[in-house]
Subunit: 324 residues, 2 copies
């Protein structure tokens, strides 16, 4: 079963949101149009708009209000991807800084800023001060998460708590805010809004942990990149932290990361990745993810029955079983 | 006479805002603290907060509301400076991409994002939807201005209109928004709000034109950088556009910019800069600036007399005469 099947009844509303996103970031501006082509072509699951719309089903669902919020949240997500790309591009093109490459990076950074600004503009159509408060706080945390991620790269002496805080900021809070802002935009009762926030937070945590597990267990075809890419880029994820309880694996990693991490190849890491996969780290990580999913289900209990609630449950279930 | 003397009666309120800015961007986060040290040490005129406070004097001036807006606008300005630095750093360190340098750039980009987010958070304390609409639209234009500036670098075939649109987006609109948001935060009458916006816009245009003139006419000591720096970086400003009506100067510039502009030195540009200074381009630019100032004075006419109006007039007068 495909994820999109689960929320097929939102198809028409999502199409309208997709149009709005495209119109916003393609803009009338030629340079932006160029810079955003890749971004739009890359598509994406538009999972944040889905959560906004579902959140809105527990109040007075008005499409124009839902759209303002959904577009805003997807644009925030896209802007952060653009800025992540600036960082990555800078690495990939290291040593060959053509004028073209630099021009792209500047444009990419300002394009990200532009998309952020458009995101706020979209939200400001809502005329609800609380929406802005929620979004601003989420963005502050998101930025702290990005900074933490850069700081914690290749840093093996970090604990579970640091990892959990990082994925909370990087992923879970934006999903929680999507659910919550859907509720706010539809003026749903506060108890539903709180439940939706909690659901989004737990689902987001689970989602990111599964993502981090799949980076080890999924095939290159499923991932669209070599497995172990996160580790190669220095992202110390939950499976790594668990696997490092084995002293052999820990010392192997310390040794690898002592060399110039910039020049590490997938081949260098292949042996340790095999050991991580063979350890109990994968299963233990999945158990943590499952625990978050259970909490997500529990959070839903407060909500009235119906298709929206059913769909939120379905998405959580899908996340628990997904293979890519 | 120093600029700060003109608005000395705001001193106490400005000190409170300064504290708030420092607390916000220093944060509890060690990496951010490090990254922002330079930013805070650099100081700045805090001219946007001044305009916010003065705008607030035409309504119901409440310091906490004024502070929310003033901090927000100064943070937006600072965030955009941080992002400009990312671009500049990337150039300066070209060819020597140390890990440290790259780490700094990433952190700088995310620090800029973080400051943006904090800016929104500050504004959201106001609980006024219109404030967010004004700020979002201003940010969209600001970003377009940044993109235009990158795109128009070293591009000699641009007209006066492109230049004026660029400085409008880059400088004038944020000053206009500062004045306007001061009025909005104090719930001043709409006619005053409009007048303040117009004043800010005209003063901002004048301010940037004088800035662009001073880059040619001020001494290195006054500027803190070699004169002609803008041109060296490829920024085609008003004096250059006027000077290029002289075919000799135009062809000299075309020739210079045909070579690898990355390697241009101040010495390469010295002869053409001398010619620009000797032409009527400086005087003509100052006349345009003066015309904007006159419009700024006119915009003030609607406002009721008093110290705030007097101060706005004083600032405009100062801008027209400033030497650095």
């Amino acid at each position: 079963m495909k994820l999109a099947m689960i929320y097929s009844f939102l198809k028409q509303d999502l199409a309208k949101i997709e149009d709005s996103i495209n119109n916003t970031i393609q803009a009338q501006h030629p340079v932006l149009r160029e810079a955003s082509t890749q971004l739009l072509a890359a598509g994406g699951k538009r999972i944040r708009p889905v959560f906004v719309l579902l959140g809105g089903k527990f109040g007075n669902y008005q499409l124009d209000r839902m759209e303002a919020v959904a577009v805003s949240l997807e644009l925030i997500h896209m802007a952060s991807l653009v800025h992540d790309d600036v960082v990555d591009n800078a690495e990939l093109r290291r040593g060959q800084p053509t004028i073209k490459a630099k021009w792209d990076n500047r444009i990419a950074m300002y394009t990200g800023d532009y998309i952020f600004a458009r995101s706020l503009e979209s939200l400001s159509a809502l005329e609800d001060p609380r929406a802005h408060q929620v979004l601003a706080k989420t963005m502050v945390e998101l930025c702290l998460g990005e900074i933490e991620q850069v700081k914690d790269k290749y840093r093996l002496e970090q604990n579970l708590r640091a990892y959990l805080l990082r994925i909370k900021r990087k992923t879970a809070l934006l999903i929680a805010a999507s659910c919550q802002l859907g509720a706010i935009a539809s003026q749903a009762p506060l108890q539903y809004e709180r439940a939706l926030y909690r659901y989004g937070y737990f689902v987001g945590m689970s989602y990111q942990i599964i993502d981090d597990v799949l980076d080890f267990t999924a095939s290159e075809e499923e991932l669209g990149k070599p497995s172990g890419s996160d580790l190669l880029q220095g992202n110390i994820t939950l499976p790594v932290l668990y696997a490092m309880e084995d002293n052999m694996i820990a010392s192997e990693l310390y040794e690898l990361f002592q060399s110039d991490t910039e020049n590490l190849t997938p081949e260098d890491l292949a042996p340790v990745i095999r050991k991580i996969k063979a350890s109990d780290a994968i299963d233990r990580s999945l158990k943590i993810s499952e625990r978050y999913l259970q909490k997500a289900y529990q959070a839903l209990e407060v909500l009235p029955p119906g298709r929206a609630k059913q769909t939120l449950r379905g998405i959580a279930k899908y996340i628990g079983k997904r293979k890519s």
